[in-house]
Amino acid sequence: MRLSRFSEFLSGVKAEFPLLIGVVPFGMIYGVLALGAGIPPLQAQMMSAVVFAGSSQFVLTQLVQTGVPDLVMILTVAVVNLRHMLYSASVSPYLRPLHTGWKWLLGYLLTDEAYAVSIIHYQGSDKNDGTAEDHGSVTQTDHRHWFFLGSGLTLWTSWQLSTAVGIFLGAVVPESWSLDFTLALTFIALVVPNLKDRASVAAALSAGLVSLVVFAFPYKLGLVTAALSGIVLGLLVEGRR
């Protein structure tokens, strides 16, 4: 089934909507926390467009307050966002026939949530139309990148708007509400359901334990150290099968 550009775009927008239930509160809380960390409103809003990656923006709002060296902050963002490389590798066969401009645009919009619906759309329609490998030959009629664009733009717009609402509310929400705790809770919700095999449990546990031991490491390099130890242990446990 080959759809027109517009109907692909529209299906992408529609597919993204259920995910916004989680994204919008997240963006609002980011806005509240950014102001709480002393980031001025304009910079807090710009960060949502420039970095455009929720979890790393949360972590940045924490690091901003601790006086960590700039380079460590940037390195931490890189580690937190490294998972997007996985998404990049996964969608790359489908984007191969596109013009470079499309690749740069869709790369910018490649978030957890846009990836989640777009890859399902790509793989789902592959079943009817053949594999990713041979769809390069039908690039004239394949408009599935418009679906990706629709979902990506929907998420982008909601992220910017919810950030703005959070910034607006930031001055109103008292600190005793402990809203910063939603960061830990969101991550718990993302990690726990995916601990399906021994290797990923080992990766999570060792990273967690190391993070407590090295908490006092100079320059707050503890997070990077802990994450690397978790990745290495995950690989070791998996390799022993």
Binding site: I74, T100, A189
Partner: protein, 105 residues
């Protein structure tokens, strides 16, 4: 801290990670060790952020019994496992935290 430098460098690094394989020319194979390692990035990174947050909030090591975040966090783990829902996990975790905070003070 140079805020502008941190923001734009963070944005650039994130964009580069997202573009990495999309812009790669040709049908180059992705190194299998890298692919295997990437699978462990989310659990490792996110757990390393979570655990200090709930075990020693604000950098202070608290008595487990006086730590409202530890208890709410553990309950959230159970809710996350059973419901697989971000919304329920946040809701139960926050309400538990608020109740304990009211009881303690």
């Amino acid at each position: 801290m140079n805020f502008w430098l941190v923001m734009f460098a963070s944005g650039l690094v994130t964009y580069a990670i997202r573009l990495s394989f999309i812009l790669m020319v040709g049908h180059r194979q992705i190194p299998s060790l890298l692919m295997r390692a990437l699978r462990f990035v989310p659990p490792a990174v996110l757990t390393a952020i979570i655990l200090p947050e709930i075990v020693m909030p604000g950098g202070n090591i608290l008595q487990p019994l006086q730590n409202a975040r530890l208890f709410s966090g553990l309950l959230a783990v159970v809710v996350a496992w059973c419901t697989r829902s971000v919304l329920w996990t946040i809701l139960v975790g926050m309400v538990t935290l608020w109740i304990i905070q009211i009881l303690i003070t």
